[in-house]
């Protein structure tokens, strides 16, 4: 690495982490003001855990994320299998576009158009509609992660299983699935995190009684900086870091591709 490389990396990573560090540090600030250090305190964590509506919305978010990531994992794996195994089937281009477009589509468009569908179909809005919305954009992410693993998979392993008398279903369950499991787990986690993170789409498609954590946080953030939000953010960042570091440690140890 040249000094220029080193400087670029140092500055870039500082830029990425400075705001996060500020959040974490000030979550332990006794003072309510940002610029005033009122001494170390964990009182905002106490306030956080006494905030019943916030905790309730966190539970809603967890429920939505688990369900939508599970659906996305199933659909994304099927889509990745189709793209990897079906050769140049007719409509392949459209299929690929349909799969990947939700990943980059501005959330306001996805959110609005899904809401219009739900209104048009007269579906009652709530947790289930958020789950559907999140599964829709999570599918593409799972397909990318699982697809990369499938591409790297030695196809003769599946041929060998078939050669040894296994029918298509047994080949899939006993060979393909265990071998793509790490990627499937990574894809599930990605879909889970994206669901947990989403504010815009959820705001469009949710109904009364279904307030997710980002929706709750947003309504408070709009009112300005709030140490309780800092505390909540710190906990979220800690959870994410643990998962990412755990995943990269696991993948390094088992030599299975990167987590993302």
């Amino acid at each position: 690495m040249t000094p220029f490389n080193r400087a670029a990396l140092t500055l870039g990573l500082s830029f990425l982490y400075a705001p996060i560090v500020v959040l974490i540090v000030y979550s332990f600030n006794d003072s309510r003001l940002v610029t005033v250090w009122g001494g170390f305190s964990t009182r905002w964590y106490g306030v956080l855990f006494a905030d019943a509506p916030l905790l309730a919305s966190a539970l809603v978010s967890l429920e939505v994320a688990t369900l939508s990531a599970a659906i996305a994992a199933a659909l994304g794996t099927l889509a990745a299998l189709a793209l990897d195994r079906h050769g140049r089937f007719s409509g392949r281009g459209a299929f690929t576009g349909l799969l990947y477009a939700p990943m980059v589509m501005p959330e306001v468009i996805t959110g609005l158009s899904l809401l219009l569908l739900f209104v048009g179909l007269d579906v009652e809005r709530g947790v289930s509609t958020i789950v559907i919305a999140h599964a829709t954009f999570g599918t593409g992410f799972v397909a990318v992660v699982v697809g990369a693993r499938l591409k790297g998979l030695d196809r003769s392993l599946e041929d060998a299983a078939a050669d040894l008398g296994a029918g298509p279903l047994r080949v899939f369950c006993s060979v393909t699935l265990p071998l793509i499991a790490p990627a499937l787990a990574a894809g599930f986690l990605l879909a889970f995190t994206l669901s947990l993170d989403d504010l815009v789409i959820a705001s469009f498609v949710s109904g009364p009684g279904a307030t997710t954590l980002p929706m709750r946080l947003y309504s408070q953030v709009r009112l300005g900086v709030n140490p309780e939000i800092n505390a909540a953010s710190t906990l979220l960042i800690a959870a994410v870091s643990l998962v990412v570091l755990g995943a990269s440690w696991l993948s390094a140890r088992r030599g299975v591709g990167a987590a993302v």
């Binding site: 490389n5 830029f15 299998l81 079906h86 996805t110 939000i229």
Partner: protein, 308 residues
């Protein structure tokens, strides 16, 4: 030894069973909603539930469809075209996205290059360091900047203490804050694909160029950059598209003066409850982002053809 062309696996029925669930799901929950949005963008607002006319009555069959199409109006698009606010919002959305993409490429390329040149042992750690913010809540990362940028925030406190400025700077609720937010939030999206390309570059190629007498700058310009171009374009597009329709960043950091289409759509929908106009804005936004994607796909296909 492998036969040329891609191998197909399974029976036609089996293949269909694999393909159908994602296809039907995405068709119903991604494609159909767009068609509906398109239709409603031609409707008129109404004080009813749902708040627009005409409403497509699914039970009326063909007659319902005819009545629906006869009731279609171009009013919303005429309104958008006549209102200078939307012209400004369109242009400033594009300008913000293009400007931030350019800055991202300028910051992201040296970072990705440095990561790719780091020793193999610490590369996974560096990737994890870039990935952690990528996985951390977008909302929280944008929110963090409020505390830094606001007039009585950390940046101003530091500048005042150092004597760089006499009066606190107004950064929050300005275009500068939006640019900082866009750059910050999307940096991992640029660095990761670029790193993926650069770490796979054959390291003997720059060495060969150096051996042939090329300077560092010339090696980068003539070898590294052209080879990294596909990753660069993909990464740039991956940022540009969602940034054009970005809502959270202009909303939290840009103040009420910032005009971006994503935020306009949100306001039309949630504050003004004008669903048809919101739909028309969505259609406009979609057109804005489809153009670069189509151009990129075309370029990709030509490149693949050339390689074949």
């Amino acid at each position: 030894m492998d036969p040329p062309g891609m191998r197909r696996v399974g029976s036609p029925l089996g293949r269909w069973l694999v393909r159908a669930p994602p296809l039907l799901w995405l068709g119903l929950f991604f494609l159909v909603p767009f068609v509906i949005t398109l239709k409603i963008s031609f409707s008129l607002p109404a004080t009813a539930q749902p708040p627009y006319r005409p409403v497509l009555d699914w039970s009326d069959g063909i007659a319902g469809w005819r009545a629906f199409f006869e009731g279609l109006e171009l009013t919303n698009y005429a309104m958008l075209a006549a209102d200078s606010l939307y012209w400004k919002a369109t242009l400033s959305s594009l300008a913000y996205a293009a400007g931030a993409t350019a800055i991202l490429v300028l910051i992201g390329t040296p970072m990705a290059l440095a990561m790719a040149r780091a020793s193999v042992r610490i590369q996974p750690l560096l990737v994890a360091l870039v990935v952690v913010p990528f996985w951390t809540s977008f909302l929280i990362r944008v929110y963090a900047w409020i505390a830094i940028l606001k007039p009585e925030g950390l940046l101003n406190a530091a500048l005042l203490k150092l004597g760089v400025v006499a009066q606190p700077l107004t950064i929050l609720d300005t275009p500068l804050a939006v640019m900082i937010g866009l750059t910050y939030a999307y940096l991992p999206f640029v660095v990761l694909p670029l790193y993926a390309v650069m770490s796979r570059l054959d390291t003997t190629l720059p060495e060969a160029a150096a051996d042939l007498g090329a300077s560092r700058a010339r090696i980068f310009r003539t070898v590294t950059l052209p080879l990294a171009m596909p990753g660069l374009v993909a990464g740039a597009l991956l940022c540009f598209i969602p940034m054009v329709g970005e809502f959270i960043i202009p909303d939290l950091l840009g103040g009420s003066e910032t005009l971006m289409l994503g935020r306009m759509l949100w306001i039309e929908f949630f504050s003004n409850r004008d669903w048809p106009i919101a739909s028309a804005v969505a259609v406009l936004l979609l057109i804005l982002i489809v153009v670069p994607v189509v151009l990129f796909r075309g370029a990709e296909e030509r490149r693949e053809e050339a390689l074949r």
